[in-house]
Amino acid sequence: MNPLDDKMRWLEKAGDVDAKAPQEMHGLLVEFDSPETLLDACRKVRDAGYTKWDALTPFPVHGIDEAMGIRMTILPWLALGAGLTGLAIAFGLQIFTNGIDYPFLVSGKPLISVPAQIPVAFELTVLFAAFTTFFGMLVLNFLPEVFHPLFRAKRFPRMTADRFGIYIEAKDPLFNRQQAELLFTRLGATGVEPVLSRTGRAPMPVMIHGVGLTLTLLALIPPALIVKSRYSKSDKPRIHIIQDMDFQERYKTQSAHPLLPRGAASMEPVAGTIARGELNEDDHMYRGMAGDEFVRGFPMALTESVLNRGQRQFAIYCAPCHGLTGVGDGPIARRADRLAEGTWVAPTSFHTELVLEQAEGQIFHTITNGVRTMKPYAAQIEVADRWAIVAYVRALQRSQRASIDDVPPDIRAQLAQ
């Protein structure tokens, strides 16, 4: 490989050193052929006080750390810190995304389910720690470092295969070439070689600037397109990439259908179909009728709570037109009168003979199906509530035609005073 021959001269141009700059001594490379002699030599070098030196081995030699006085690296601490960071990020991520930002319950699990968060937390801990270990090792070793004067040494290539070496840099204050060569020969070195390096750095090829500029400009295109699409409007139709998802071959509700009855994709239920909970066999309860006649009386017991409920529901649904007393002076009726558009039919007062004589079932029927311009209230008011309202209407009617006998005795006594 070295000295460089014609085939490889272009490599030198690709390096970071200026081939025309003068060379200087970078260090001394000493070769050994067994780990034992190497270890021995290392101890001597360490004890002699050298500081800028290294050993080169094709595999990690057991015992060399102590022989060279290498101190324990901080890498495990970096890994620990990174692992804890990963752990925190994992829990934070899951708590935030599933518990705070878009909380939704899934199969009854709590929003912040710690047991379910552990697998991802574990993985992220390991991921962060592992990547930090690897990249930390590279960074602490100053790798990648593909240009180093050692790569040009003649004896270097075998250092990664089957030979061992010690390399002392010329920058070391104790560096003395002759002394070193003597020492190492005594220690069983199989060879000593000075390693030279060029003092100047090669100039950057002009082409690199052009290439760099072009690549930067090209790399700006995607973000530019994104910005453009986010801040501009377009009235062109959307691009449908997945045709059979966006234009599905199925009939949508309410669309036309050539084969089904009514020409519609949504069919009516079979005649006589009754939904669950809507069998409604009790005519008294559900229609207020017995046969064709309106029925008198209530289908359930009248209690204070029923009447209270009726009062409440009356106030909500009926009072706007009929007024709170049932005479027909609710705010809607009054406004309609004022507007006098000619379309309004005033609500009948409950206190007229007509209504007083009506059966309870008929009042129920009126609420359910409406009458004249009053619309049906069946959709808004449940059956039980409608009966409660009927009961309250009766109470209202009685309130305008009460006699002193209707008043309880104790209150009657107070009135007398």
Partner: protein, 431 residues
């Protein structure tokens, strides 16, 4: 890859090839004298517990039965851990552990005594196991379905088989090892290695079913396929703690000094760390799957261990048995530091006890007093029952077990002197 600091300048030189002195490998008379004292203390304490419950406790000896099972199972797991350790080290032809192996063999050799101590558990079957109550089983479809397995004669027979297997393996391993002390015959090592593989299989099955029988059937409606592995994991943590503490104790009495070095302790620490993680993994698997599927017939078991004060014990177990020792044992330095390792070994031993406690004691709350009640309805009425009986049982069994182990060391070399791998064990270095 820094080797530990040593006097030798060349780290590759195998340390301590010096011949072993008698004091290094046998227990001195004064230390041996502790053995009968400990055993007596143990028996007396247990007796005091029995008396206390008979005289001052509610009728039926329910609490003493559970406390007895607690102390007993705790010691049994240590012995089982020792036995599996011996088998695994033999199976893997390990070199480093040869200096520890004799101690493990001796701990395992207490099996016959533990078999005798199992008899009270069988005597207390009615207090411990609801399925021994015919009235309860008659009215319970699930228990009726299990009757072919959970019935007293089969149960007793199974327990006898477990102990027969364990006693046989323990004795064989110890005998082969002791015989080698005299003859140095290499064939004995091969025999032990050949025995170890079927031994491990028998062990796996017997420990699993012993766990099912003695512990899982305390709550006979509940089941978990990983239970056997859980018991195994806990046993290993318990044994490794005891091994570390035991060797340290022996070394304080002059035995095993310079034989078991910081390198071996480092390895024991690594194994303790590894099995701590393994225990956490198994415990989490069991919990997570049952929690996630949320099926009431499975979650009830954890429900019992999360209410009425038991929630605190569960948290102590999670953090104390796994999270904290994980952090504590992570560092290489702690594993190589005498005080650090002893601290964590003691800690894990206590946590192993908490684990067994957590497995057994909630069963005390089940409807034992209401045996006549139709159906089987676990009812929590007592809450978290830390009681002086539990302390007495644990202390009693602890002392008894230590005494038994020490007694087994009488006149025995604590290092297999002629094991072919002894030199390798004594000289080995860690990363």
């Amino acid at each position: 890859m820094t080797p530990p600091p040593s006097a030798a300048s060349d780290p590759m030189q195998h340390a301590s090839t010096a011949p072993l002195k008698v004091e290094q490998v046998t227990l001195s008379g004064s230390t041996m004298g502790l053995a009968p004292k400990m055993m007596l203390l143990g028996l007396v304490t247990l007796g005091a517990g029995l008396l206390l419950d008979l005289v001052a406790g509610p009728k039926g000896l329910y609490h003493f039965a559970h406390a007895y099972l607690l102390g007993y199972f705790f010691c049994l797991t240590i012995a089982l851990g020792a036995l599996i350790f011996v088998c695994l080290q033999r199976l893997t032809k390990a070199g480093w552990s040869v200096v520890i192996r004799r101690l493990a063999e001796l701990i395992a050799s207490t099996m016959p005594a533990l078999a005798i101590l199992a008899i009270p558990v069988l005597v207390f079957m009615h207090q411990l196991y609801p399925w021994t109550h015919a009235e309860l089983v008659e009215n319970d479809a699930i228990l009726l379905g299990k009757q072919a397995y959970l019935n007293m004669p089969f149960f007793i027979g199974r327990v006898a088989v477990y102990f027969a297997v364990w006693i046989w393996i323990a004795r064989k391993m110890l005998t082969l090892s002791l015989r080698q002390d005299e003859s140095g015959d290499v064939e004995l090592t091969r025999k032990a290695e050949r025995l170890s593989a079927p031994a491990v299989i028998l062990f796996a099955l017997t420990v699993t079913f012993a766990g099912f029988d003695l512990l899982m059937s305390l709550d006979p409606h509940w089941f978990s396929t990983i239970y056997g592995v859980y018991v195994f994991a806990g046993s290993m943590v318990g044994f490794l703690s005891v091994a570390i503490l035991g060797v340290k104790f022996l070394q304080s009495r002059g035995v095993l000094r310079d034989v078991v070095t910081v390198e071996h302790f480092h390895d024991l620490g690594k194994l303790l760390f590894g099995f701590t993680m393994f225990w956490g993994y198994i415990a989490f698997s069991q919990f997570m799957l049952i929690w996630y599927a949320n099926i009431p017939e499975e979650t009830i078991w954890f429900e019992h261990r999360m209410s009425h004060g038991w929630g605190w014990v569960s948290l102590i177990l999670l953090f104390g048995h796994f999270v904290i020792p994980f952090g504590g044992l992570l560092s290489r330095h702690v594993k190589r530091d005498a005080r650090g390792l002893v601290f964590w070994a003691a800690w894990q031993l206590v946590m192993h006890l908490v684990d067994i406690y957590w497995l057994i004691m909630p069963a005390l709350n089940l409807a034992h007093g209401k045996v006549g009640a139709p159906g089987y309805a676990p009812a929590l009425h007592a809450g978290f029952p830390l009681h002086v009986l539990d302390v007495l049982a644990v202390v009693g069994f602890g002392a008894l077990f230590v005494g038994l182990v020490m007694r087994s060391m009488r006149g025995v070399n604590l290092v297999p002197l002629k094991d072919p791998r002894l030199a390798e064990a004594r000289g080995f270095h860690n990363f």
